[in-house]
């Protein structure tokens, strides 16, 4: 997989861990960084709701990300340990 481009977060299946390679610029970026969602960080996909709203976990915190934003966040899968 191309390390630069990655796949949209919205395409990740539940239970999978991913590393973030790209976060869209704009107003939400600062907000995302504060929540710990930025380039190089690892998150776990908890659920993909019908319509594409994503539920992710950053350590112990659950975060809901709307479909359009989840589409714009690019990630690469991480091999699951055990």
């Amino acid at each position: 997989m191309d390390q630069k481009t990655g796949v949209p977060l919205s395409s990740v299946r539940r239970g999978h861990r991913v590393r973030i390679v790209e976060v869209p610029d704009g107003r939400t970026k600062a907000q995302l960084i504060r929540l710990g969602i930025h380039q190089g960080e690892y998150i776990k996909c908890l659920q993909r709701l019908p319509g594409g709203t994503m539920l992710v976990e950053k350590n112990r915190q659950e975060i809901a990300i709307g479909a359009t934003l989840a589409n714009a966040i690019k990630v690469v899968p991480v091999a699951e340990a055990a």
């Binding site: 939400t28 970026k29 960084i33 504060r34 709701l49 594409g52 539920l55 809901a64 990300i65 359009t68």
Partner: protein, 633 residues
């Protein structure tokens, strides 16, 4: 915790409104000069208000921060003046809450930072930022009692040495550690700043004078930069990421995680966001709200208050008082104590109908919010609301609309963009029947049968979708994406629920009352000048010809302007066929909102936009009602 009309995590996202005024000094009362200013700062829902209440005791002054709708509580603690600031994720100027907290922090001598132990990773970002700003900081690790259940251990001593400030473990629920708050506050000090930041600060420091402001300017805070007449820095992203990484390092060192147990609250939280399970849960929640607000408060309690206290006690008494001064039958008497009198109908309406209803709705909302259900509901409906150009957060004003459209229109403030505020306001004013009206609608529809109920619901829902979709297509711009954190499902704290409900109800009444009086006055004047009957005559042909309803129904429509339930109630006395009932109710639901919500819309959305919406409801109501009539009758 942020206690604006809606809160928690949902309110602390950026607004498109960035505050431009300078508020230096206004956060602190003049009398406090010389006393040490202590600001309580933390993320939303960290139990900050509970700690504030405990520290400040009974004598608390809650007021809106100048120029905003955000409230700040002030109190006294030992020799300190203590301030409870709105919950924020960081110090900057993205929203009104952030602007208020920013100024409180800038003015404070000591910052008492409340942290949710269970959400260390989220909350320490703010802690590190406060330390980077060079403030004297003390940290309370709150919700310590929840750590065990979550299988988390935190080394508070190690955390304290990393941060360079005192750290105290507390539980706002059991008040564990509260006896030592005084000593950690006394021990508050400047902590370990990010080393890379330190070098950059020196040059900026000479320009702003305060270290805290220098950090904010470097982070690109435009409001603070403007105050000092210097350009905002470009380093926000780099600084935030460095801070984030530093926080992650600290967390890795101080936190150990055992295997967490799956708990019912967590499972319920998951079910609530997934439509398959979430829709039945929502149906259950709505049914409970209906039982409480719709049956217990709207019917039993309001009936007692409005009739016994309002119509039978208050109104005859005030009529007697006024009659002694103003001759009965004069125009002044009509305006003051007539059918729509300012002193009769408006007082009864406000105190005995609206206040209990609004309080009940805010109570239900506070319960949904503090339990953690509300952000999950917003998540579940996010995608559906995108169809009408809104994101999940808009579910809050839409639900409130079923209580009172005026209250809901004020709440559209929490939406992020002007575009979303416009769409939500239009939907509210058109297609959401408020509880006062809903009670009458339900009674009439029950008499008209199941088919009538179905046609009514489908038509109103169709209009809801149509308006949203059309505005979504027509208005420029895009829907802002949903981004919220979902706090754990928790049992709400009764004291916090009561405080929130009381504050919001009070704030709503304070804000809306003048408009209800103004509205009643306007209609009273229309009545004495004879314009009201002219209006009815104008509407009459549309009523009989196009809507195929009796001529008297026009009166009901005009009354709907004063109070929406009056409008619908006026239909009781007409003998209508089931089809006519549907047509009349659809028309009256879509029809112009009550005059108070028009006034609030004028204030919130401006004259031009409010006038367009208002006129459109006239046209919309008659077009849809008429088409329905042509099909049915």
């Amino acid at each position: 915790m942020s206690d604006r009309p809606i809160t928690g995590n949902l309110t602390s996202q950026p607004h498109d409104h960035v505050e431009q005024h300078r508020h230096i000094g206004v956060g602190m009362p003049a009398s406090s000069v010389g006393r040490v200013k202590l600001a309580l700062v933390g993320n939303p829902n960290v139990g900050k208000s509970l700690i504030f209440n405990d520290m400040s005791g009974l004598y608390v002054d809650v007021s809106n921060y100048p120029g905003t709708t955000v409230e700040v509580s002030r109190g006294q603690y030992r020799s300190y003046d203590i301030f409870d600031t709105p919950g924020v994720y960081g110090i900057s100027s993205f929203s009104d809450e952030e602007a208020v907290t920013r100024d409180c922090v800038l003015e404070a001598d000591i910052v008492l930072n409340v942290v949710d132990s269970v959400h260390l990773e989220r909350d320490l970002f703010l802690t590190q930022q406060l330390i980077d700003m060079g403030k004297k900081v003390a940290v309370l690790l709150n919700f310590t009692d929840e750590l065990d259940r979550k299988g988390i251990e935190i080394d508070a001593k190690l955390l304290s040495s990393y941060l360079g400030v005192p750290v105290l473990q507390t539980s706002a629920i059991t008040k564990q550690g509260f006896d030592r708050i005084e000593s950690v506050v006394a021990d508050a000090r400047k902590g370990e700043q990010d080393p890379s930041l330190h070098g950059r600060l020196h040059t900026m420091l000479t320009r702003t004078g305060s270290e805290a402001e220098a950090v904010l300017v470097l982070e690109g805070d435009e409001v603070v930069a403007q105050r000092h007449g210097i350009p905002a820095g470009m380093d926000r992203e780099a600084l935030y990421i460095e801070r984030r990484n530093r926080v992650n390092l600290i967390i890795n060192a101080v936190l150990t995680e055992k295997q967490p147990r799956a708990r019912f609250a967590m499972m319920f939280g998951r079910w609530a966001v997934n439509p398959w399970t979430g829709v039945p849960i929502l149906a259950g929640v709505l049914y409970l709200i209906y039982l409480f607000v719709g049956t217990l408060v709207a019917q039993d309690l309001v009936e007692f208050l409005e009739v016994k206290l309002g119509n039978e006690l208050w109104e005859p008494w005030i009529r007697g008082v006024v009659a002694a001064v103003v001759p009965a039958g004069s125009w002044l008497s009509t305006v003051l104590v007539g059918e729509f009198g300012v002193l009769t109908m408006t007082i009864t309406y406000l105190l005995f109908l609206l206040l209990p209803l609004v309080t009940a709705f805010y109570l239900a909302l506070a319960l949904m919010e503090d339990s953690g259900y509300l952000p999950r509901l917003a998540t579940m409906v996010d995608r559906s609301l995108h169809g009408v150009g809104l994101n999940g957060r808009a579910v809050i004003p839409l639900i409130l609309g079923f209580g009172c459209v005026t209250m809901a229109t004020i709440t559209t403030r929490l939406l992020e963009t002007t575009r979303e505020k416009r769409i939500a306001t239009a939907i509210l004013q058109f297609a959401i029947p408020c509880s006062a009206q809903l009670a009458v609608v339900a009674a009439l529809l029950t008499g008209a049968g199941f088919e009538a109920m179905l046609i009514y619901t489908a038509t109103i829902f169709g209009v809801f979708v149509a308006i949203g979709t059309v505005l979504h297509r027509v208005l420029p711009g895009e829907t802002s994406p949903l981004l919220i954190d979902l706090p754990p499902m928790r049992m709400p704290r009764p004291d916090n629920i009561i405080r929130k409900t009381a504050f919001r109800s009070y704030y709503f009444m304070k804000e809306a009352t003048p408009w209800f009086f103004a509205g009643a006055l306007a209609v009273g004047i229309l009545q004495v000048t004879g314009l009201l009957s002219v209006w009815q005559d104008i509407l009459a042909p549309f009523t009989t010809g196009w809507l195929q309803l009796p001529r008297e129904a026009a009166t009901a429509f005009v009354m709907g302007m004063v109070r929406r339930d009056f409008g619908a109630a006026g239909l009781y006395d007409l003998s209508l066929t089931p089809d006519q009932i549907v047509v009349a109710l659809v028309t009256i639901t879509l029809f112009v909102p009550c005059i108070a919500s028009l006034m609030v819309m004028l204030k919130e959305r401006g004259t031009k936009e409010a006038t367009i919406v208002w006129l459109a409801t006239w046209v919309g109501a008659f077009v849809v009602g008429g088409l329905l009539s042509q099909m049915l009758i």
